[in-house]
Assembly symmetry: C2
């Protein structure tokens, strides 16, 4: 099997990028000291950066290179979506073990390119170096009209807390990935979601266009942690209703089978990549109409005027505090 | 000693970024899903990405965290300089061992911030995750007027090949770093250059403003490899004169002492971060005048009409082929 050591850095870059055909907006793409692109007049430039590290975010037996590339794209696209923005350009930073088979990097790049190009996003630059383990980073640049930008700090007491799609899938998929092949086969849709999540880019743009959407974030670290970010930035509190949380039946069934708590998956799991946003009651019907063809919407609670107080109204009507624990790289290892 | 494991990811980010005060051009800085910044009208957006990986680009006994941060900034600033551009914004991607002492990350960030702010460049976003080894990446965004942009593909036969400053310092510093403390003490200036190189940002901007500068690149992988990039992109060749290569006397003395070849350091070493550019003979005096107060300039050779042919005219007047070997992460490990 041919490895990177036999190919060399420059030949690898040539091989990975030769199929990339820059669009007109890219004045200068891959192959110079820096890329040069145009940002449309009147727009702000959005930028975000995220990574997938071997042994931390993924392990090879549990993921394929192509799915890894897909996921790296999706998690960054989700951040641009959460602003209401449109992704445009990507820069890829790879640190790779010299003994890695070349085709593994090529498949990674294929998954990355496919997912980015699904949103008309072009790779304009990158960097490759050696490393003991596979470390992949992506910088994603996008555009947004200032009036459409949705921040974390705009939530107001009385706002409805809404989420797109359904929750708990990311944590369920991660749990499933460690189970038997037969269980995986029975639950392929859950596994597939976790392996290849898709960002709510179109929904984010639609919500960006609605002035009544007061605050938005993507749910990447679990509902509790991400809602806590909104509450902290907006100096408000929140009450979430357990019975209102959108969960697929297949996820509930899997949780029972694995003796896991769905509620825990939703609140403190991660990798759902849905959007969480707040709107006043009177705007809710318009939100529903506009998102109708794109994604389902659930109202899961309300913003309160109690700064930092996150509570859950349980099935039995008892209200209890939500610990805003999100995935933390250094506390949870 | 307090480590990251005891602090947590979110507390670390808060600690690293609390001193950052965004300027007016930063509509939304650190702390949301993405940053939002303005790019001045009429300008193209430049973007580049580079990294410093523990065990590959650096080893802890040989570098300090503060110098590492400085260097990560400088190598990216050098890429923006090589386009003739102005750096504006940075995004930092860190993958850190959980057992790393907190102050090591803080010192790294201090060095990074100090070097970026020396060029009015602001950190607007980032990402932190865990990793078995220290992996640091920086995305640098900048601006340039389209007419000022210097690419690699504009060199013309007959152009003079010029370099700023002096060469071989990076490779000399790396060699010195592995020597005895007493030798280091004797050669502190060389060590300091290697530990804390500075990018030729101002010189790059001046050269960007001169229409007669046909092509430009920064010398980060050795003169041979980087000149080869210019020649390949421009479909030209080059002849370099050994006696014209600018080398500090201290570097020559160190090479003799270590029984190393200065020529090899210059051609195939790296980390010099000088600018290499080509101009027609008649523009040379203007280049000299404009750069006079900023940095020295040396004419080291000429562009020829023989595509891909890189030759060196040696001290003894014999002309020999230059192998365009640059540092390659996978071939040299």
């Amino acid at each position: 099997m041919k490895t990177l050591r036999g190919l060399g850095e420059f030949a690898l870059i040539e091989r990975l990028t030769r199929k990339i055909k820059p669009s007109e907006a890219v004045t200068l793409g891959i192959g110079d000291d820096a890329a040069a692109v145009s940002v449309p007049p009147g727009h702000l430039l959005l930028s975000t950066i995220d990574s997938q590290v071997e042994g931390v975010h993924f392990e090879w037996p549990l993921t394929t290179p192509e799915n890894l590339g897909h996921k790296l794209a999706a998690i960054n696209l989700s951040d641009i979506a959460a602003m209401g923005g449109t992704p445009l350009y990507g820069l890829v930073n790879l640190a790779l073990p010299p003994d890695l088979p070349i085709n593994r990097v090529q498949e990674f790049y294929k998954g990355l390119l496919r997912q980015l190009s699904a949103y008309n996003t072009e790779i304009v630059g990158g960097n490759v170096s050696a490393s003991p383990n596979f470390v992949s980073g992506l910088t994603l640049l996008g555009k947004i009209l200032p009036k459409n930008m949705k921040k974390r700090n705009g939530a107001r007491p009385g706002d409805f807390i809404c989420v797109t799609g359904s929750l708990g899938k990311g944590a369920a998929g991660l749990a499933l990935a460690r189970e038997s092949d037969s269980l995986k086969k029975e639950n392929q849709a859950i596994l597939k979601f976790w392996q290849t999540p898709r960002a709510r880019v179109r929904a984010g743009q639609i919500l960006g266009n609605l002035p009544d959407v007061h605050a938005m974030i993507d749910i990447s670290d679990g509902l509790a942690g991400d809602l806590a970010h909104i509450c902290k930035a907006s100096h408000v509190g929140a009450i979430v209703e357990e019975t209102a949380l959108p969960v697929d039946k297949s996820i509930q069934a899997l949780a029972i089978r694995l003796k896991k708590s769905v509620l825990n998956w939703i609140l403190h799991g991660g990798e759902d990549y849905e959007l969480l946003f707040t709107v006043p009651e009177e705007a809710l019907s318009e939100v529903r109409v506009r998102l109708n063809a794109v994604v389902s919407v659930s109202v899961v609670g309300k913003i309160t005027d109690k700064p930092g107080e996150l509570v859950l109204q349980k099935r039995n009507r008892i209200v209890e505090k939500i610990e805003p624990n999100a995935w933390d790289h250094f506390l949870t290892i």
